[in-house]
């Protein structure tokens, strides 16, 4: 095990420590509440580790700079919130199409537009999945503690590198500003995934920076590699990365960009279950709502009601298997979330079991309470 440090810090600070532990050495961003502590932490810590922080003119250019830096071999990240996340969608799409790894931390706040800038929400879930135009898939992780902000940040970078794609880290104001004790364990080299490099015996002519024949991405040398030239484009491209807008190629690229994530769901998704084994009432939730839901489960259990919880640590791709298992075993499912039912709608899509699916929503910028979650159940 690597060096262990105990700290009492907020979620946004733990993200910076996690990113540096994961090997990130480039940050480009634009300050926005409630994520700014990540920018400030990156500006302070990156040069101390030989890395670079740059504050760009907006979130559009920030995303572009992240992709450029990653293509040049540096693991890169940024942090933002709703309005900035909207601006990032353009080049998030470029990252998906060009298959360039990077990590985006969205510390969610109330919206749309400026909304209630400093108040929490979990309402960017659908934007995370569908904000980019065109068919694609995406990986998104949602933390529920400061410990998660450290540990799952490392996971996020590993997934980005392994699947050669931008990964979204969907935190929220509650977790970003929450102070807790965190145990930071420095990862061992084998716990860090770095993008696969081409076989050095290949010639440039044989090298394919984009492969569509398997569900795993092709090797990715950095620009500046002394042997291999690298070519990326946001246009539909062939396996050499050259412009290729023929019907057959468009079709295979579209399928590949979805399949490389959806066919690897078992490897990508992380869930946690709490007292689910004998549960008759199941809660399915994510992010800050997990904390209130856990307390709700404990209160119900004390009353003799068999309640349990499934936490979707990975929200995209959805842990379908685990959600179906809950739906098939319990009579009632409640989905607590700080939006008007974005996850609940997804859960209903899997409900082939006649399970009653209820919602517990809160959208007033105040953290959802255990009592409110229990009330949603009682009102039915």
């Amino acid at each position: 095990m690597g060096k262990i440090t105990k700290k009492f810090i907020e979620g946004n600070d733990a993200v910076v420590d996690g990113a540096i532990a994961a090997g990130a050495r480039f940050y480009a961003g634009y300050p926005i509440s409630p994520s700014s502590e990540i920018a400030e932490g990156a500006a302070r810590e990156l040069p101390r580790h030989g890395g670079i922080y740059i504050q760009m003119e907006d979130e559009i250019s920030s995303m572009a700079a992240l992709l450029g830096a990653s293509l040049a071999g540096k693991k890169s990240f940024t942090a933002t919130s709703g309005p900035g996340f909207s601006l990032m969608q353009e080049n998030l799409g470029l990252g998906i199409m060009s298959e360039i790894p990077t990590v985006i931390f969205d510390v969610q706040r109330s919206g749309p537009s400026t909304g209630a800038a400093t108040k929490p929400a979990q309402a960017d879930i659908m934007q995370a999945r569908y904000g980019v135009h065109g068919d694609h898939s995406i990986i998104a992780i949602s933390p529920s503690s400061v410990q998660d902000c450290y540990d799952l940040t490392i996971t996020a970078f590993n997934l980005a590198e392994k699947y050669r794609t931008p990964v979204l880290f969907m935190a929220d104001e509650v977790i970003g500003h929450l102070r807790e004790t965190v145990t930071e364990v420095e990862p061992e080299p084998e716990q860090i995934f770095n993008r696969v490099q081409p076989d050095p015996n290949l010639t440039q002519e044989e090298f394919r920076p984009y492969g569509y024949s398997s569900y795993m991405p092709a090797p990715m040398p950095a620009v500046g590699n002394p042997k291999f030239l690298m070519r990326t484009t946001g246009s539909t491209h062939d396996e050499k990365g050259e412009f290729g807008p023929g019907p057959e190629n468009i079709n295979r690229v579209t399928h590949y960009l979805t399949d490389k994530i959806e066919k690897n769901v078992d490897d990508i998704t992380i869930t946690r279950s709490y007292k689910l084994d004998d549960a008759e009432i199941g809660f399915i939730t994510f992010g800050c709502s997990v904390r209130s839901t856990k307390t709700a489960v404990d209160i119900l259990r004390k009353k003799g009601i068999k309640a349990g919880m499934l936490q979707c640590v990975t929200i995209w791709p959805l842990p379908e298997k685990e959600i179906r298992e809950v739906l098939s075993k319990v009579k009632t499912v409640v989905v607590p979330e700080m939006n008007l039912g974005q996850l609940a709608g997804e859960v209903r899509k899997f409900n082939d079991y006649g399970c009653k699916v209820l919602q517990a929503n809160r959208t007033d910028g105040v953290l959802i309470t255990p009592q409110q979650i229990i009330k949603a159940l009682e009102e039915e």
Binding site: P47, S61, G73, L229, T232
Partner: protein
């Protein structure tokens, strides 16, 4: 000695540009400068945007990153900072550079990022059918200014000079010798360098504005050209409608990475 052909993907020719378009002259100039300087193609990364000139990467056998419309400079900023040993070249049209990407241009110039921006200015959006851009001259006819353009156009060189660019030059497709010389100077310059290359668009701009065929447009471009040395002694009225050519700004100021490296060297606990 290397030839410009060594840096090109000849099997991709003929190129996509219209007959008489000036973009090919700029492409050949870029590849010729690489050859002249004897650059290792692995040490070059070209970043291009969207538009007619955005397609320039298709024909070059070097590292290429083809990005979204207007975002070539911020993507190149990431590359230049992540690997300061690369020769980063950014190719843009007038749409990319001063219209949709105008904000990125002035900030990139202000930061003095070590890269070379090559702008092919044809006064309009060629790829989408000849609509007006931020450099379309006032009163011009385009497909979206059918009654004459009422907006004042940007002077790209003046704009970036005001923003703090340390190397600013302009050449026309009529004079590829000068174009090559200025592009080479830009690549050799440490810091933000920009070379505005005036190119004819006979298909759209020339046709709508009755400038004749490509050869006529080239001739006109040459007649309008005034060397910067002479322009310095001319009044604003005398320079109306003229194209000032040559090396307009050339000064030394530490580039962004050099300054940032000082911070890293002072703070680094890993080293």
């Amino acid at each position: 000695m290397a030839s410009y052909k060594d840096y090109m993907l000849f099997d991709k020719l003929p190129h996509t540009w219209c007959a008489g378009c000036g973009d090919g002259i700029v492409l050949q100039s870029i590849a010729a400068v690489f050859a002249e300087m004897g650059l290792d193609k692995h040490d070059i990364c070209l970043v291009s945007g969207i538009g007619c000139f955005g397609r320039v990467d298709d024909y070059l056998d070097i590292n290429c990153m083809h990005v979204t419309h207007g975002r070539a400079l911020p993507a190149a900023t990431g590359i230049a900072l992540a690997n300061p040993n690369l020769n980063v070249i950014v190719t843009m049209g007038d749409g990319d550079s001063v219209t949709i990407g105008g904000n990125h241009l002035i900030h990139c110039a202000r930061r003095n990022i070590n890269l070379t921006a090559i702008v092919a200015n044809n006064y309009n959006y060629g790829q989408t059918g000849g609509q007006y851009s931020g450099t379309t001259p006032t009163h011009s006819i385009t497909t979206t200014s059918p009654y004459g353009h009422i907006e004042k156009n940007f002077d790209i060189c003046k704009l970036v000079e005001a923003a703090g660019a340390t190397y600013v030059a302009r050449a026309t497709a009529y004079n590829p010798v000068q174009m090559r010389k200025l592009i080479r100077g830009g690549i050799e310059h440490k810091g933000f360098a920009i070379i505005e290359c005036m190119v004819a668009c006979p298909t759209h701009y020339g046709r709508y504005n009755k400038q004749g065929e490509a050869a006529n447009m080239m001739k006109l471009m040459n007649e309008q050209s005034v060397p910067v040395e002479r322009a310095r002694n001319m009044t604003e009225e005398e320079l109306e409608g003229k194209i000032i050519t040559g090396l307009i700004v050339n000064k030394q100021r530490d580039d962004y990475y050099t300054d940032y490296k000082r911070i890293i060297d002072a703070q680094n606990i890993d080293a």
